[in-house]
Symmetry: C2
Subunit: 210 residues, 2 copies
């Protein structure tokens, strides 16, 4: 079926949100750990973390507009640090529940039953139950004029990962860690390996690395 | 294991690239279809497409810096249109091979054995073998100062999807379409459904929608 630009504009808002959120493909599922100046912790699931560069190690994240985004964005801008914690298949329902609009004085850690974990040198809380997590320092933020969302860019300052998941090449086997993927607004998935392929060259068929 | 910022900086470049590329979690796998002013088609796999907003329907994409990026970025900037085509499990090895550095006069469609498909109103080629694909008009582009990569933002102008995959709510079952996910630089995955969860509210446990 074909859907034109005009037809997209005429769709019911919720239908369009489901449809358009399905277009990018599988998304990462991460919990963002933050704290405010009063020391109150916050935890929020996001599917908008993306790789931006390896050297320096930068990750981007899209936040909803200032007008609707709340504690996570406020905390990151106030403190300048945050953690990103992979959601895995053991905690996916608790992770989803962090998206409920809890009042500021309630920590999502307590509300959903996940444990805050603190590491020296990092002001923001990690998620103890996450098996791959890292801290970032905010490096830049900007509002995207086209729709008011906010692009946050952070640099990795500290990484915690289960040692057995890191391969000799540096690749982390996130499927083995149970990391989950998101599609659309609310669908969660585990991953099965198809395979790894060698660096592509014009005159060669890609080789399986696994 | 813990890895500090200083240790990250001392890693071998390739090891660090593998490691840092694993951090964001599962990534989308898409083929970008473009054409230049001479009508020569180009196809490139990217794992950097992300959802930016549903109304207007916007998607972001990260391109390598101008100094190393080549035909895809040039073509998008020259023509102002491009297509995004989900990679599925039937074409993942061909899709990977588009990342080889073919000369400009060779179309990756021909080189890897995928078929260009044209639709009225869109200047760029779609991938016939892709089961979920859409055209975009470039709405903005900017260089990220921190590392020189380029953020491209496009608005969806035309969508093609297999009808049976679109649910009543607008959600597209991309696992059913065989869409694949990427982790790290070169690892491909299919997805298994964990489930869909209801919109989260503070006083309710999330309900399964499926």
């Amino acid at each position: 079926m074909q859907i034109t630009h005009d037809e997209l504009q005429q769709l019911d808002d919720r239908y369009r949100a489901n449809l358009i959120n399905s277009l990018s493909g599988f998304k990462s599922a991460n919990l963002i750990g933050t704290v405010d100046k009063q020391g109150r912790t916050n935890l929020a699931i996001v599917s908008s973390v993306f790789h931006l560069g390896a050297n320096p190690p930068l990750l981007g994240m899209i936040s909803r507009p200032h007008s609707v985004a709340r504690h996570t964005l406020d905390n990151i801008l106030a403190i300048g640090e945050y953690t990103i914690n992979h959601v895995n298949a053991a905690i996916w329902t608790q992770a989803h529940q962090t998206s409920a609009r809890f009042p500021r004085e309630i920590s999502e850690f307590d509300a959903v039953g996940l444990s805050a974990q603190w590491h020296d040198g990092v002001k923001a809380p990690f998620v103890a139950e996450s098996r791959l997590k890292y801290a970032l320092k905010l490096r830049s933020h900007q509002t995207i004029d086209l729709n008011g969302v906010v692009l946050l860019i952070g640099e990795v300052t500290q990484l915690h990962v289960e040692q057995g998941a890191v391969t000799d090449s540096g690749y982390i086997d996130i499927a083995q860690l149970g990391s989950v993927a998101v599609s659309g607004l609310d669908s969660y998935h585990t991953a099965q390996n198809l395979g790894r392929l060698s660096y592509a060259k014009p005159d060669k068929v890609p080789q399986r690395l696994d």
